[in-house]
């Protein structure tokens, strides 16, 4: 749940990057942090294991500035993607206001995407939130690998598997190289702030 301080005119929203392990959630945040470090002027916090995997979460706060007199702050989080960290994922989702689901485009990861989306819906339900109502954006990551001849899931399949019921915005992206990483983030921030707007008036 966003923190809205009407007296101080501050709004803090929490956006979580969710998805299967090795899908590129941390890479999304790292790209944003490296590319815009001088402008966002905050530090990214990341806790990795010895094998370079996200242990608890990554955290990147972003100051958007004043809009309609409110200081808007966005907190971007990732969850650990590995199957065994289910309870950690659920904890990170507490108080979430918007979600980017980073799907892995590799053909061999089709099942993992579907299972991860199901776990997202279940975990949201444990906080009495519906995946059908929360601001959500899909990112189909690793599309750059197509140029290298790596078998990827066609976007139509990804849409059918993941987005046929939800019908939310989706982006083909490459977190490693950058295309649509920023667009994904902008979209989820706009949707999230939009959903909070009614509380600000």
């Amino acid at each position: 749940m966003a923190i809205i301080n009407l007296k101080k005119k501050e709004v803090q929203a929490k956006i979580v990057y969710y998805g299967p392990g090795r899908g590129g959630k941390t890479t999304n945040l790292e790209y944003i942090y490296k590319k815009f470090r001088s402008r966002i002027q905050t530090e990214m916090v990341t806790i990795k294991t010895h094998g370079d995997r996200t242990l608890f979460f990554d955290f990147l706060p972003i100051e958007i500035g004043k809009i309609k007199g409110y200081d808007i702050r966005i907190q971007l989080y990732t969850v650990p993607g590995q199957v065994k960290y289910e309870s950690t994922r659920r904890l990170v989702l507490r108080g979430v206001d918007g979600i980017v689901f980073v799907a892995d485009s590799l053909a061999v990861r089709r099942k993992e995407n579907v299972l991860s989306l199901k776990s997202l819906a279940d975990n949201l339900a444990s906080y009495k939130k519906s995946i059908l109502e929360i601001p959500l954006v899909f990112q189909y990551n690793k599309r750059d690998l197509l140029e290298e001849g790596i078998p990827l899931l066609p976007v139509e399949w990804l849409e059918k598997d993941l987005n046929s019921k939800l019908q939310v915005p989706s982006f083909e992206a490459s977190a490693l190289k950058g295309p649509n990483v920023v667009q994904t983030m902008k979209k989820i921030i706009i949707l999230t702030i939009d959903s909070l707007r009614k509380d600000l008036t």
Binding site: I64, S87, L106, G149, I189
Partner: protein, 238 residues
């Protein structure tokens, strides 16, 4: 009507602010990637990318099969063949130990593959340059082997150590014979990826937090074990 205008105004303010904050420079275009579209390494790369810490027999079998295929293609190139033997060696170790494999193993496997790809795809790379890259990867492989042995000694748990003689360099010969020695004489157990603790699924928030803490503690313990092993190695090398 006024409310709609207000909403539109608010949204456009947010969009303007985000555009200003995250305006991207022109694409660099500097990095030119060599395509793998019809290259013998294409499938190997695809399989490697599919390997996660959620390692299964089928993904590891695909990797080992693909390595064999590429070994056949490069049977006349001793340098590339040695790279592939390194990959095969680590691949078999990871397959045997799965989740209990040393965390460094995937990093080394990726590093060896990256070097292999560079050597295979870079036109005009001299033999000494190729050998230098190979030597670096052989050194990483040897270090990994030491770490595995150390960790095994510390844990005193059965772990299959794939002992394959490090390829001689700078003119390495293929080493087809590999010795597969169970560290304690007991074959490694097939250990499935740990499932999320069942009781945590339905736990109250404070209980879920406790389970999450336990998960973190487990990983921190493993990290410390790996660090201790590395410090020991470092001390011995001094």
């Amino acid at each position: 009507m006024a409310q709609q205008r207000d909403e539109d105004n608010f949204r456009s303010q947010v969009e303007d602010r985000l555009d200003h904050l995250f305006q991207e420079d022109a694409p660099d275009g500097a990095e030119e990637q060599v395509g793998l579209v019809e290259h013998p390494l294409k499938n190997l790369k695809a399989v490697l990318l599919s390997i996660d810490w959620e390692i299964t027999d089928s993904t590891m079998d695909s990797l080992l099969n693909e390595i064999k295929n590429v070994e056949y293609v490069y049977s006349e190139d001793k340098i590339l063949l040695t790279f592939l033997q390194l990959l095969g060696s680590i691949g078999r170790y990871v397959k045997a130990n799965k989740g209990r494999a040393h965390p460094e193993a995937t990093r080394v496997i990726n590093s060896v593959y990256e070097a292999l790809e560079k050597v295979a795809l870079t036109e005009g790379m001299s033999r000494p340059e190729k050998e230098k890259m190979l030597l670096e990867e052989v050194a990483k492989f040897k270090k990994l082997k030491e770490q595995v042995v150390l960790r095994k000694a510390e844990k005193k748990e059965p772990e299959v150590v794939e002992v394959s003689p490090a390829p001689p360099a700078p003119s390495p010969e293929p080493s087809p014979e590999r010795e597969r020695i169970p560290a304690t004489g007991i074959p490694a157990r097939e250990e499935p990826e740990p499932e999320p603790r069942a009781e945590a699924r339905f736990a109250a928030p404070h209980e879920a937090f406790a389970y999450a803490l336990e998960e973190i503690k487990d990983v921190i313990r493993a990290e410390f074990r790996a660090l201790r092993a590395e410090i020991k190695l470092w001390r011995e090398s001094k």
